[in-house]
């Protein structure tokens, strides 16, 4: 049985089209982390973005 059907979900052709562009190598790397590590990684990334935005606002 295919994955979606296993959970009672039918494939949506529009979503299937979008799915072709998903970078699965990144997902596989993320799946190696614990849930807490995944959340910490995203929060750290957002903090870095905040710092870059602040630096951008202060540019001469």
């Amino acid at each position: 049985m295919k994955v979606l059907e296993r959970y009672g979900l039918l494939p949506d052709p529009v979503i299937e089209h979008y799915k072709k562009d998903v970078d699965r190598t990144l997902l596989r790397e993320h799946l190696k982390l614990t849930p807490q590590q995944r959340l910490e990684r995203v929060v750290a990334f957002m903090r870095d973005v905040d710092r870059l935005r602040a630096a951008f606002r202060k540019r001469p």
């Binding site: 049985m1 295919k2 994955v3 979606l4 059907e5 296993r6 959970y7 009672g8 979900l9 494939p11 949506d12 052709p13 529009v14 979503i15 299937e16 979008y18 799915k19 562009d21 998903v22 699965r24 990144l26 997902l27 596989r28 993320h30 799946l31 982390l33 849930p35 807490q36 995944r38 959340l39 910490e40 995203v42 929060v43 990334f45 957002m46 903090r47 973005v49 905040d50």
Partner: protein
């Protein structure tokens, strides 16, 4: 403001609030790579749980997001009991308190197959990945299409079974 997502989880779980994490943070915890700027939780509507919820959040000054300053808004038990869904700003960041989400997502229904996740010493419950996909499909928002594609690919990678639609 970068939300203190871990702080939210610690506050709610240490106060024994019955809630299930949904939305972007749930997607992140399951392995999605998209970032999110708020925490969405579906909370139990029992009076006892509402009391725990408002007491836990009170120190973080919850206020209606986007509302003018100075409104006589207090997130107390009566307010939560009279309402259902609240989009809030707090000193920890933005928080969406949801009594129910599209697709019939009450706390009791979501909790039935939610996944326990340990963060520091706290255990929190996260909507299951298949249920999260079903909720996003039920919401029917165009902006969710890319997120749905990622979540479904994630489910396929996680379960290691042949993808659908091929």
């Amino acid at each position: 403001m970068t939300p203190d997502l871990l702080g939210f989880v610690r506050v709610l779980s240490s106060a024994a609030v019955d809630y299930v994490i949904v939305g972007g943070v749930a997607a992140t915890l399951h392995g999605a790579l998209r970032t999110t700027l708020d925490l969405d939780v579906v909370y139990a509507r029992s009076p006892a749980n509402i009391a725990r919820l408002v007491a836990a959040l009170a120190p973080y000054r919850p206020y209606l997001r986007g509302a003018p300053e100075g409104l006589p808004f207090v997130l107390d038990e009566a307010t939560v009991a009279r309402g259902l869904n609240f989009t809030l700003v707090t000193t920890l960041g933005d928080l969406d308190l949801l009594g129910e989400v599209a697709g019939g997502g009450t706390f009791e229904r979501l909790r039935a197959d939610a996944v326990p996740i340990e963060i520091d010493d706290a255990v929190c419950w996260v909507v299951s990945l298949p249920r999260l996909i079903a909720l996003k499909r039920a919401a029917g928002r165009a902006k969710d299409r890319e997120a749905l594609a990622e979540l479904e690919a994630l489910l396929e990678e996680r379960d290691g079974l042949p993808p659908s639609g091929r």
